[in-house]
């Protein structure tokens, strides 16, 4: 059949032309109503399909011209409309259109419309039965000339359009429902995962708390009492688990042991190593203690500090994978004489504050960190204390504590702090040092574990 298209969009026209040609129709195309009317008068088409919004002459005007042309009035006329407004229907009726197809449309839908219209030929005389309808819509009065067949066609097409749109809506709705179900399923899975994460997290918190408790058991007993010496200590881990720990304890009636250990790194790996090291540094005679041995006569032998370090180094050979190591300062004070034997495996210098006045003195490490270099012998250092002398052991979290500008607290500040508090009780001196370090690190606080252990010899 001979189809005439009026469409100002070249792309849409070409698309429609191809579909109609494929369906076996002859197609002519004009890009406005005026040109299309010219083509229709040249040769009467079997059917006209026209857009509404077009330059020069709109679809309504074109339709009216066709329907008032005696030679063309019998040609079925389909308007392509967005039908966004009920007034569009009235306008279509008034123009004499036979059918509407709503844009966007499926080509198959348009083709079936065309076939329906051609199967129901318009009574050429329909116009004679045309009546003037008075329509009131949106506060406006319309007077419309329309035949009954035309009104019926238009009504049916409007209804069919609505049905087609409804079907699309139903499909969209189904897709939406499917998406919603999928979302609900994901949500449920997410909730399950969340519950699982919470459970694992709670488990980890419990484990960490248990581990932290084990770690605290490495610290000095609260009621530690040492004959002829004052001791005071502060221990502030930067996380729940620390790589630092310290202890002070009587080894026998005449000897006091004291140490600070700092395992490199932080968190679980370091704290595990700290706990393991702690087992070897117990003052109770046991299979694991490196500090004391059972003597043949039933008494105990106090192992010299240097030998303790050498043994530890042998036991903790640097792990190929973790690269963990630790620094240790371990001292044994002979209480009757005030002789302090100690060993330092890469640990920050022992600080002595003489009771007689004069500047505090540093006694730096002579050995390397433990688990760092295989098979080394650690050398022992000795110090003769005078009554009232204080010694301070501390982890690198003290001199290396960084302020906001990344400046370390430093050894000078450390010396000034302990010298400044020499006339105060030892406990308050240790507290002041911790307070000074914490103040230095404001606003973030220390990023490393801070351990301080002070001892004053009072024979």
């Amino acid at each position: 059949m001979d189809v005439l298209i009026a469409e100002d969009s070249r792309m849409q026209a070409k698309f429609l032309e191809r579909k109609l040609t494929e369906a076996g129709h002859a197609v002519r195309w004009a890009e406005n109503g005026s040109d299309a009317l010219g083509l229709a008068r040249q040769r009467r088409p079997d059917i006209i399909v026209s857009d509404i919004e077009m330059p020069v002459m709109t679809g309504y005007e074109f339709c009216k011209a066709v329907k008032t042309d005696p030679a063309l009035r019998g040609v079925p006329f389909i308007l392509l409309s967005t039908l966004s407004d009920p007034i569009d229907i009235i306008r279509g009726l008034d123009a004499g259109a036979d059918n509407y197809v709503t844009k966007p449309y499926e080509p198959a839908f348009l083709l079936s419309r065309m076939n329906d219209l051609l199967a129901t030929p318009l009574g050429v005389d329909d116009a004679s039965s045309a009546a003037t309808l008075e329509v009131s819509l949106a506060g406006q009065q319309f007077r419309v000339q329309a035949g009954r067949q035309q009104v019926l066609n238009l009504l049916v097409s409007t209804f069919e359009n609505a049905v087609a749109k409804n079907q699309e809506l139903v499909v969209a709705n189904q897709q939406l429902a499917a998406a919603r179900d999928g979302l609900q399923k994901s949500n449920t899975e997410l909730t399950t995962l969340n519950t699982e994460i919470s459970r694992i997290n709670a488990q980890m918190v419990r484990d960490l708390e248990a581990a932290a408790k084990v770690q605290r058991s490495l610290l000095p007993a609260d009621d530690v009492a040492i004959a002829a010496a004052d001791v005071a200590w502060k221990y502030v881990p930067c996380q729940s688990l620390a790589g630092d720990f310290l202890n002070v304890f009587p080894l026998d009636d005449e000897h006091v042991g004291l140490f600070v250990v700092d395992v490199s790194g932080h968190g679980v790996p370091s704290s595990l190593m700290a706990v393991t090291v702690g087992r070897f540094l117990t003052p109770k005679v046991s299979d694991s203690s490196l500090l004391v041995r059972q003597a043949v006569d039933g008494g105990i032998v106090i192992v010299p500090p240097a030998e303790v370090a050498t043994q530890l180094n042998r036991l903790f050979q640097a792990d190929e994978f973790s690269g963990l190591y630790f620094t240790l300062l371990y001292g044994v004070l002979h209480v009757p004489t005030g002789r302090l034997d100690f060993v330092s495996g890469g640990h920050p210098a022992l600080l002595r504050v003489p009771a007689a006045g004069g500047p505090p003195e540093f006694h730096p490490a002579e050995g390397f960190p433990i688990a760092f270099v295989p098979e080394v012998e650690y050398g022992q250092q000795s110090l003769q204390l005078s009554p009232g002398d204080r010694v301070y052991l501390y982890s690198d979290g003290v001199p290396e504590a960084m302020d906001a500008a990344q400046e370390p607290y430093g050894e000078e500040a450390l010396v000034a702090c302990v010298a400044g508090s020499r006339s105060e009780p030892l406990a308050s001196s240790v507290e002041k040092l911790l307070a000074a370090v914490e103040a230095w690190c404001q606003p973030k606080g220390p990023l490393d574990d801070v351990s301080i252990l002070g001892l004053e010899w009072r024979p």
Binding site: Y325, F368, P369, P408
Partner: protein, 118 residues
């Protein structure tokens, strides 16, 4: 030449030159990556001579010393030599505090260090 994320590598004579791209070596993740990359670089070499250049490094955690210890052990077992240079005073303090300035061969800059390899 292999491309690494954390280290830059080169060779002067038989000496592997390694410098660090990070200004801060504080994070465990960064440290682990450096460890892996150095292992990749030196994995096949037996007893290599290695110079670590720290001139780009502004901050370094003491955990990095553990890695240096591992390298020192491995390289000296194979009769190689490990030397370091370009260490700023703040970082040198970390070596001094742990007495490790006495263990490692530390030099002012790369030319000074390279001169001691011959």
């Amino acid at each position: 030449m292999e491309q690494f994320r954390r280290i830059e590598t080169g060779k002067t004579g038989n000496v592997h030159m390694v410098s660090f791209k990070d200004k801060k070596i504080l994070d465990d993740t960064v440290l682990d990556e450096i460890r892996v990359e150095i292992a990749q670089l030196l994995g096949k070499a037996a007893g290599p001579d290695v110079l670590l250049d720290f001139s780009n490094v502004e901050f370094m955690s003491s955990a990095m010393l553990g890695l240096l210890g591992q390298m020192h052990r491995k390289i000296s077992t194979g009769q190689g030599r490990l030397k370091m240079c370009g260490i700023r005073p703040e970082i040198f303090q970390v070596f001094k505090l742990t007495n490790l300035d006495k263990l490692f061969s530390i030099h002012k800059d790369a030319p000074a260090a390279l001169a001691t390899f011959t």
